[in-house]
């Protein structure tokens, strides 16, 4: 799975009904009707993506995704378990905790399927599925079955204070290693992501980024051991860790997704979102269906309320993330300047030469172990 998975025909405008991936196996199983389901959804989710109408998302003007579901079934029946990175998500599901819907990113799709943790969706139950970008949809298939419904995509890059950082220093990922800014840097506590950053800094781009040899892994680990003491702290949650640190000036340089750049702009903090010389990281995330869910039809309705056009547009206008909805027109995006600079109407960009899509790593366990050794080194 890599950028190649997105290459080829990518439909941008118009509705394509070329998305297939409905799973005959899924629809032939006898299930209780929706009225007989318990209806209490347990969702494994990133903070900030809670459905509109749930306790943390009630303000008008916020993310409206999920509104159709909560209007129809109420918000009380939804319980969220929050995650701060994909490793945590996979561990929680592997530990046996039962979730109806899981929202990981694409790089662990194989792990969820191989470990028997998820089941395919019945795309016939998702009317908006036909609007989704075919390349992203195809990336969510395993053995022809649709295990992953893509929803959100974006970048990982460096966000930095334009009034504190010399522009000559802000050219690439090596900014994280610049000792001039010691104590003003905050990388994400995202283990494998930091190895991808180190790999790009060391010149292991493209396929090599997520397929590090033993020597490359050692080099990347040593580079991160060198970088680690320069951090003020490692952030886990952008809301409770990173945002306060950006606002109060503890941190000038951080790893972030593009929503934090939009946040900083809204607070009047002069920050830029770098296009590193080595290229940005790219990601896309989506929904998976728990293997033992007792809310099969509720789960489909929930996901449909996220992938419909209104919700996808809300995702883009609120977070400035791209969405998998191929029918969104540039004229519908509110901040056209930001949208243009991030190119968020164009998921093609995830397969371009200057974006490195975060993908499955065959030696992920070794990378995660190495990250633990990095953080224990100081």
């Amino acid at each position: 799975m890599g950028a190649a998975g997105l290459g080829g025909a990518v439909l941008l405008g118009g509705c394509g009904s070329s998305n297939s991936g409905g799973s005959p196996a899924a629809s032939s199983v006898k299930r209780p009707s929706i009225a007989k389901e318990p209806g209490n959804l347990s969702i494994l989710e990133w903070d900030g993506y809670q459905a509109f109408g749930t306790p943390t998302n009630k303000k008008a003007g916020g993310l409206s995704a999920g509104e159709d579901y909560t209007k129809k079934f109420g918000a009380d029946g939804i319980t969220y378990s929050l995650i701060v990175n994909d490793s945590e998500a996979l561990n929680k599901v592997r530990s046996g905790q039962q979730f109806d819907v899981i929202h990981p990113c694409i790089e662990n799709l194989q792990d969820y399927v191989q470990d028997g943790l998820v089941q395919p969706w019945d795309t016939k139950l998702l009317p908006s599925f036909a609007n989704l970008n075919p390349a992203l949809v195809k990336g969510g298939q395993v053995n022809g079955q649709q295990y992953f419904i893509p929803w959100d995509w974006g970048y990982g890059s460096v966000i930095y204070r334009t009034d504190k950082v010399d522009p000559a220093d802000a050219t690439g990922w090596e900014l994280f290693w610049n000792p001039k800014y010691k104590g003003r840097i905050s990388m994400w506590n995202g283990n494998t992501t930091n190895f991808e950053i180190a790999a790009l800094k060391l010149g292991y781009g493209g396929h090599a980024m997520d397929h590090l040899s033993d020597d490359q892994l050692t080099n990347a680990k040593n580079a991160l051991i060198e970088q680690y003491p320069l951090n003020k702290f490692l952030w886990s949650s952008e809301y409770t860790d990173l945002q306060p640190a950006l606002q109060n000036g503890d941190v000038w340089i951080a790893y972030s997704w593009q929503d934090q750049w939009v946040y900083a702009k809204s607070k009047g903090i002069p920050m830029a979102y770098m296009k590193p010389s080595q290229g940005r990281l790219g990601w896309y995330c989506g929904f998976m269906l728990g293997k033992d869910t007792k809310n099969y039809y509720h789960a489909h309705d929930y996901v449909e309320s996220y992938i419909n056009h209104k919700s996808c547009l809300s995702l883009t206008n609120y977070f400035y993330y791209g969405s998998a909805d191929a029918t969104i027109k540039p004229s519908e995006i509110q901040n056209k300047a930001v949208a243009k600079s991030l190119d968020i109407g164009n998921p093609n960009v995830l397969s371009s030469a200057d974006v490195h899509l975060q993908s499955w790593e065959p030696n992920e366990a070794a990378v995660q172990q190495a990250w633990e050794e990095v953080t224990a080194s100081a």
């Binding site: 943790l117 283990n191 951090n231 490692l234 109060n248 503890d250 050794e373």
Partner: protein, 306 residues
């Protein structure tokens, strides 16, 4: 007894009386189920007899223990052993400083505020009935770049505006400070209890025999309050050994503790087996601490009560 035939009444069934051993069964079951069984489970993970990974074969091995404990196979020093050492230094220093700060507090409550000592004790403990997490976050707000302390420093023109003290937060200082703050009142309680029930006639007798106040303190008061001091020290030493929340919230590189490695292994990696090694090592260390200090406390309490 008089030879008269004893009239026999209807036979009564003997009353079944539960022995003391019978009453002990429920707590033993709870201890076994809730404390011993999880430790056994973790031990099985640590030697790869159990795994969290589906469809993954297991085979008994000591290799992870050999990798962690010095001399570590392949690489020395093992970074997690190094973190354990750093963690123990932070723990011991915080514990000693907490005890040193708590003693005068307890002394004042016991001897200075005689009538209102219990009210003051309650007032001292009251903030600690709130959520620990909220109190740590309050410290974050106070110590951060735009926080109360830095703002005061800028207002006093001790540093230029915007230039905060760099080691105030996300450092060993902030971790130590928050841990110290969290534990001082609880360390003061056992010391206060012993000082409060100290027979003041002993102090009067010492002074009658010519001892000055300092001599009385070091020769009478302190030795008699030593069980409380040790109890207070243990109160803070043991939980701080496994601490991870405070370093996670106010710590940075170089101030993460051993508990953070354990938490991280189980949360962020599939390698629960190695995490189990670290966790079981921590259990063993705490167990040894309890044995050592428990024996010391028992001796001291016997002497204090005699």
């Amino acid at each position: 007894m008089t030879g008269r035939a004893i009239e026999e009444g209807p036979r009564r069934r003997p009353r079944l009386r539960a022995g003391r051993g019978f009453l002990i069964v429920p707590p033993v079951v709870i201890v076994l189920a809730v404390m011993v069984a999880p430790i056994v489970l973790i031990a099985l993970y640590s030697v790869d007899v159990k795994t969290n990974l589906p469809f993954t074969p297991t085979k008994f091995t000591w290799s992870m223990w050999k990798d962690f404990l010095p001399p570590s196979e392949g690489k020395f020093p093992n970074p997690f052993w190094h973190r354990f050492e750093v963690s123990m230094v932070i723990t011991v220093v915080v514990s000693l400083v907490a005890v040193a700060a708590a003693y005068p507090l307890a002394y004042f409550l016991a001897f200075g505020a005689r009538r209102s000592r219990y009210t003051l004790l309650l007032l001292m403990l009251a903030p600690f009935f709130t959520s620990y997490l909220l109190r740590v976050i309050a410290w974050k707000i106070m110590l951060s770049n735009n926080g109360v302390i830095n703002t005061a420093i800028w207002d006093l023109h001790l540093r230029s505006h915007g230039d905060g003290v760099p080691w105030l937060i996300y450092s060993k200082f902030s971790v130590g400070l928050v841990l110290f703050y969290s534990w001082v009142p609880f360390v003061a309680v056992p010391i206060f209890v012993l000082l409060d029930r100290l027979d003041t006639h002993l102090l009067e007798a010492a002074q009658d025999l010519g001892a000055g106040r300092l001599t009385t303190f070091f020769r009478v008061t302190l030795p008699l309050s030593l069980p409380g001091v040790i109890a207070g020290f243990v109160f803070v030493l043991i939980p701080t050994t496994g601490e991870f929340i405070t370093p996670l919230l106010v710590g940075g590189p170089g101030s993460q503790m051993f508990g953070n490695s354990i938490q991280s292994f189980f949360q962020d990696t599939p390698n629960w087996n190695y995490g189990a090694v670290l966790a079981l090592w921590l259990v063993a260390v705490v167990f040894v601490m309890l044995l050592v200090f428990g024996r010391f406390l028992a001796t001291d309490l016997r002497e204090a009560n005699s």
